[in-house]
């Protein structure tokens, strides 16, 4: 069975964002799937209480660590082999079947092709300018347990050191110099960023809808009204 997951905690995104994502999946996925939301406020049949295992380490860094609980999918009580994670702040343009038909020798994650890779390399040791983005992840069961166990083993160091989970994943499970690593990355043109653009340096216009791509992300806006801006685009 195919599983589509999202994660919602805190109060930035209300229930309507989860419902909208679910609706988008139903309208844009031609293969059967189950939809789940890991949440700190479970109210719907598709909700799964989000684990709290790492909460005692919360220190304002390692942003969005709660997303990584899904890397050990066995603790979520979800059956099935195929997993697709989507952030709540996405707009789906094309059939999600694509993601379930990818070859799965390795799990997949977003490579922000809008990033200047030289800037990413320059800032690697500064824990900035991360080329990968965890807004969409496609994996089969057990493919990400290595990363989950690595966090469990090094939890103090990881929470202390890495400002975001994307930065952490970039340091340990992706190699922007091209060596084989845990993650494969979605090809150029699959996923773009509303605020950043599509492909550096030639297709970088921000705030432009690109329906030829599969999904639009609303990452790294630096703006305070990004949730509202996303909502304003739901009916495009």
């Amino acid at each position: 069975m195919n599983n589509i997951l999202c994660v919602n905690w805190g109060n930035k995104y209300g229930r309507e964002y989860v419902e909208k994502l679910k609706q988008q999946c139903e309208e844009n996925c031609s293969v059967p799937f189950n939809f789940y939301c890991l949440t700190d406020n479970p109210t719907e049949p598709y909700d799964i209480p989000i684990p709290t295992t790492w909460d005692s380490h919360e220190n304002g860094k390692f942003w969005a660590y709660r997303k990584l609980y899904m890397f050990k999918e066995s603790q979520l009580g979800i059956t099935g082999k195929n997993f697709l994670y989507l952030d709540l702040d996405v707009i789906i343009h094309q059939d999600l079947k694509y993601f379930f038909e990818l070859p799965m020798e390795r799990p997949w994650i977003v490579r922000g092709w809008w990033n200047d890779i030289e800037v990413c390399k320059k800032n690697f040791s500064k824990f900035k300018s991360t080329p990968i983005n965890s807004s969409i992840i496609r994996w089969n069961s057990n493919q990400l347990i290595e990363a989950y166990n690595h966090i469990e083993k090094n939890i103090d160091t990881i929470f202390f050191t890495y400002p975001t989970i994307d930065n952490y994943l970039n340091h340990f499970f992706y190699d922007m110099y091209g060596a084989k690593s845990l993650f494969n990355v979605f090809p150029v043109g699959d996923v773009y960023s509303w605020y950043k653009g599509n492909v550096f340096p030639d297709d970088m216009e921000a705030k432009k809808i690109r329906k030829e791509c599969k999904v639009c992300l609303f990452n790294n806006s630096g703006e305070t009204n990004d949730a509202e801006e996303l909502k304003s685009l739901w009916n495009i």
Partner: protein
């Protein structure tokens, strides 16, 4: 020791390193060569000489391009046999070898890409050698988790190493994730039991740098 010996061989290696740097790496190279960088490395040499330390196998943690510390060690201590730099930045490797080409070719210097807070270090110098390093230098403690973790991680091989640690109170940089306010804080973080030297110095960039030498 108040200076670095700018020998013809060093000049040649540095010229080749600087002229082959990719443009996007060049600013980092310049940052690694500023006045404060040299001051802090000379400070290490000065204190080690005063203490009568004779380092042999030296590990440098997060040594960056290591264009100052490696020649300073070899020029000032006849005892030094091997220096190994453990770095996380892949861009550093090629240029560090250019800067230290003469030492690399003499099999006196190696750089390994490794995150020392997650993976043990082990000298790659000789097959069959147990990998222990008698001297461990970390001039970048402000960039990483407290050093007790490194010591714990390496306790089975690096049993009685001398630690030379530097950190800073300069918290204006995002990547300075572990600044300290005193040398005592650095001692505590590294769980140094036998302190041979501790002190502070205001560098030319106005930040205060702290140094601890001990086991």
């Amino acid at each position: 020791m108040e200076y670095l010996k700018f020998t013809p061989e060093l000049a040649n290696d540095w010229k080749n390193a600087l002229s082959s740097s990719e443009p996007y790496v060049f600013k980092r190279v310049m940052d690694s060569m500023n006045q404060s960088q040299l001051e802090s490395k000379l400070w290490i040499i000065q204190e080690l000489i005063k203490l009568g330390v004779k380092p042999k196998k030296v590990a440098i943690l997060a040594g960056w391009f290591a264009q100052y510390i490696v020649p300073l060690l070899y020029d000032n201590f006849e005892s030094v046999e091997w220096v190994e730099n453990f770095e996380i930045d892949q861009d550093v490797k090629r240029l560090s070898y250019k800067f230290n080409k003469r030492l690399k070719e003499d099999k006196k210097y190696q750089i390994i890409i490794k995150n020392v807070m997650f993976d043990k270090i082990q000298s790659a110098q000789h097959a069959g050698y147990n990998g222990s390093m008698d001297t461990i230098i970390n001039c970048a403690c402000e960039h990483m988790y407290p050093m007790w973790k490194f010591r714990d991680l390496n306790k089975t091989v690096q049993k009685n190493s001398l630690y030379i640690l530097q950190s800073s109170d300069d918290d204006q940089h995002d990547d300075h994730i572990n600044c300290v306010q005193s040398e005592d804080e650095l001692i505590d973080q590294a769980r140094i039991k036998h302190v041979m030297y501790s002190g502070s110095k205001i560098l030319s960039n106005k930040s205060t740098r702290f140094m601890v030498i001990g086991r």
